[in-house]
Amino acid sequence: MDVLAVALGALLAVAAVAFVARPFLAEPDAADDRLAGLTSAEQERLGLLERRDRALGALKELEFDHRTGKIADSDYEASVGPLRKEAAEAMKALEPLAPPAPAPVEKVDVRA
């Protein structure tokens, strides 16, 4: 019984080490081992995308709140202008930063 346990344990350890070493075994000399981070341009783009989405989301909520009667017409008029402007600004700022070639939208497992 004990020998079996030791043998299985050893097998487990070997399998673990193999799995852990796999990336190195698969690419013994990788041309590019750098972790793809975000360049500052990409960071900026990301920030603008979020700004745009935040403004668009806020507009949608404003719309909804107005329709359900939570926001008075006057408040709506006052808020909708600046929000639209913010969204438009963000979208305008994004144009020159668009990625070079539009990547095909893969089926992504977007578990959010």
Partner: protein, 664 residues
């Protein structure tokens, strides 16, 4: 096979330690293959821990008493369900469960988000690895479930009060909650470490946080129901440190769930959120520590179990490291957006947070104060229900009010006029309800009356929200009213699921106030045939009965119950005397009236030789609303958690735009 279990744990320890160290180096230096290797180590550690868990489960199922753990927590006559449940009934097993859940959901969270967050995952892996290393360290060096001994003929068995179906559900659900809070913590700290200023980690971990929070909340209520039925003193929450251990992280997690919404929409409160998520995680570790180390008995028993010292040390390290990281990244976290008005939804969320955190701190102080007092002054004190009740009311009532006001206030800036108009109908309803209740005699508990008025306000506000929303959708030409309603909820799951959860909390409040403020108690001796009137019920003592069960002698008093002349059957209350344990347990009779949501609670304290019985009878009005609230709570969370195809598509489009599909 204990050797295999130990080996599996050692391998797991090696793997998570590697994940922590190698992952940290890979993230710091930007090494792709090393990070992949560390991530693989995390995945592999789950397999290894799973193997160890299977070994333990197998030993339990086989009644292999050569395992010390099996011998000390089970016995041959213990039913299979409880035998398997003793996996988590003991110290070592529950630590193994923690590690299993941690490596499991940690691996899942990393695997599912690998392609989405290019720079957070490299830091999340070592953080998860480090946390797992602590538990693996304990399991390998301090509290191993695979200790062996000469197998005795039979095991020590399980404490009779644990042998009940709740034992099968409550601990695992609780641990799913506790451990689940690790995910938002690891991702948040990962985002900080990576220097990222964006919010994608919030979106990515939102469902994990929500699910953990739901499990934790439900587990707390399940535990309360267990205590209500099993310990049977007539109440449902005793503010016992063990209960508070789970409540504290839940309160802070609730605050986090709310304020993270503000961060997502307004890019504000980022430092506060980082502090909250670290606080929630530290409190969940603290909760595990409280229930595992025995420190609550007295500060003396603390030193008897070294586990306590290890936990405290680890909590200190986590708290210090989180604080250091937050301070280091303070410039990054400083938001550019300011709170524009004290009357806005952002402000409402802020107030909600303040009250929740204040309440959590109150509970924490109540738990710690006795220990602090004993350590510093040498005088132990006990902090009782009055302290907690005072603050539960002081902080709870404003929170309930905010639940009603918050949804009716707009973002950014709400004109008082608009708010006033929205509040008119719910406030009016509340006032009417309040007056009616006052006339019905609810003034006997002023706090209760106020609580009910607020509850009516919130429920009316929620109903108004649903009505207005459905009307608006219907006006857009959504078809029938029913279709308008379902499409409203379907398109705004977060909002309306949240309203359902709020309604559940209000229901809980109504039940808690009912049992706490408007109940009736009677204690007295009853001779055979004698009746007594308690509240609206009349009980008549019919006689006593005895029965011998497998491991106990059961003594019961049979009482006939009637209300307003209507016969409601009989109840049996009494005691069980367990032979092997030489212990007596109270078996209370609970007659639940679901229509009125109230319980008739009978405790047979003493059977006298002259045939009379001493009983304590309690009427708990509205208590069943508490359990109903638990179910509604889960339902509301499910609505919010439900995957939304449109939201997925929108996010997919956005991530495609960000070019985030490149491999790490």
């Amino acid at each position: 096979m204990p050797g295999l279990g130990s080996a599996a744990l050692v391998v797991a320890f090696g793997l998570v330690a590697y994940a922590a160290v190698a992952g940290g180096y890979a993230a710091f230096r930007g090494r792709r293959r090393l990070l992949e290797s560390a991530t693989n180590a995390l995945f592999a550690s789950f397999a290894s821990v799973l193997l160890a868990a299977i070994v333990l489960l197998g030993a339990l199922a086989r009644h292999d008493f050569s395992f010390s753990y099996v011998a000390s927590h089970t016995s041959r006559e213990l039913p299979l369900g409880y035998t398997l449940a003793s996996f988590w009934s003991g110290q070592e097993g529950s630590l193994l469960l923690w590690l299993l859940v941690l490596t499991g959901i940690g691996s899942a969270a990393v695997a599912l988000n690998r392609r989405l967050i290019r720079t957070v995952i490299p830091w999340t892996v070592p953080i998860l690895g480090a946390i797992a290393s602590f538990f693996a360290l304990l399991l390998v060096f301090v509290a191993s479930p695979f200790e062996t001994q000469i197998a005795p003929a039979d095991g020590a068995g399980m404490n009779p009060s644990l042998q009940n179906p709740y034992m099968l559900a409550h601990p695992p659900l609780l641990y799913l909650g506790y451990v689940g809070l690790t995910i938002p913590f690891a991702f948040a700290m990962g985002a900080l470490a990576s220097g990222r200023a964006d919010e994608r980690w919030i979106i990515a971990t939102r469902r994990w946080t929500l699910a953990s929070w739901t499990f934790l909340g439900f587990a707390i209520l399940l535990g309360a129901k267990w205590a209500y039925e099993e310990v049977g003193w007539g109440g449902w929450y005793a503010w016992d440190p063990v209960e508070n251990a789970a409540l504290m992280p839940w309160l802070v997690a609730t605050a986090f769930l709310h304020s993270v919404m503000v961060q997502e929409k307004k890019n504000m409160l980022r430092v506060w959120n980082a502090v909250l998520v670290a606080g929630a995680f530290c409190l969940s570790l603290f909760g595990t520590f409280l229930t595992r180390s025995g420190v609550i008995n007295s500060i003396h028993s603390f030193t008897q179990s070294s586990i306590g010292a290890w936990f405290l040390g680890f909590i200190a390290v986590v708290a210090a490291a989180s604080t250091a990281l937050i301070i280091y990244r303070l410039p990054l976290l400083r938001s550019r957006t300011r709170l524009e008005s004290l009357v806005s939804r952002e402000a409402a969320f802020l107030y909600n947070n303040l009250f929740l955190v204040a309440f959590a701190l109150t509970v924490l102080w109540g738990v710690i104060y006795p220990l602090v007092s004993e350590a510093v002054r040498g005088v132990a004190v006990t902090v009782g229900a009055p302290y907690y009740d005072f603050f539960a009311i002081a902080f709870g009532l404003p929170l309930v009010l905010l639940m009603g006001i918050g949804p009716l206030v707009a973002w950014r800036r709400a004109s008082l006029r608009a708010v006033g108009r929205s509040l008119l109908w719910p406030a009016g309803t509340a006032l009417v309800v309040g007056i009616l209740l006052l006339l019905a005699g609810a003034g006997s508990s002023p706090a209760g009356l106020v609580g009910y008025t607020f509850a009516a306000f919130v429920l009316a506000a929620i109903a108004l929200e649903f009505v207005r929303g459905t009307r608006a959708r219907h006006a857009l030409g959504a078809g029938s009213w029913f279709v308008a309603f379902t499409s409203l909820v379907g398109r705004n799951r977060r909002r309306y699921g949240g309203y359902v959860v709020h309604a559940a909390i209000v229901l809980l409040l109504i039940g808690a106030v009912g049992i706490g403020g408007f109940g009736t108690t009677h204690e007295g001796k009853l001779t055979q045939g004698q009746s007594v009137q308690v509240g609206a019920y009349t009980l008549t003592y019919l006689g006593s009965e005895q029965r011998r069960a497998a491991n106990s002698q059961e003594l019961r008093a049979r009482l006939a119950v009637s209300r307003g002349g209507e016969d409601l059957g009989t109840v049996l209350a009494g005691k069980n005397r367990y032979f092997a344990e030489q212990q007596t347990s109270n078996e209370v009779a609970i007659r639940s009236d679901w229509l009125r949501a109230e319980d008739l609670f009978v405790i047979a304290d003493q059977f006298n030789p002259d045939g009379s019985v001493f009983v304590k009878v309690i009427v708990n009005p509205l208590v069943n609303l508490i359990w109903l609230a638990g179910l509604l709570f889960v339902a509301g969370s499910l609505i919010t958690l439900w995957p939304d195809a449109r939201e997925q598509r929108r996010l997919a489009r956005r991530f495609a735009e960000e070019g985030a599909l490149a491999r790490v």
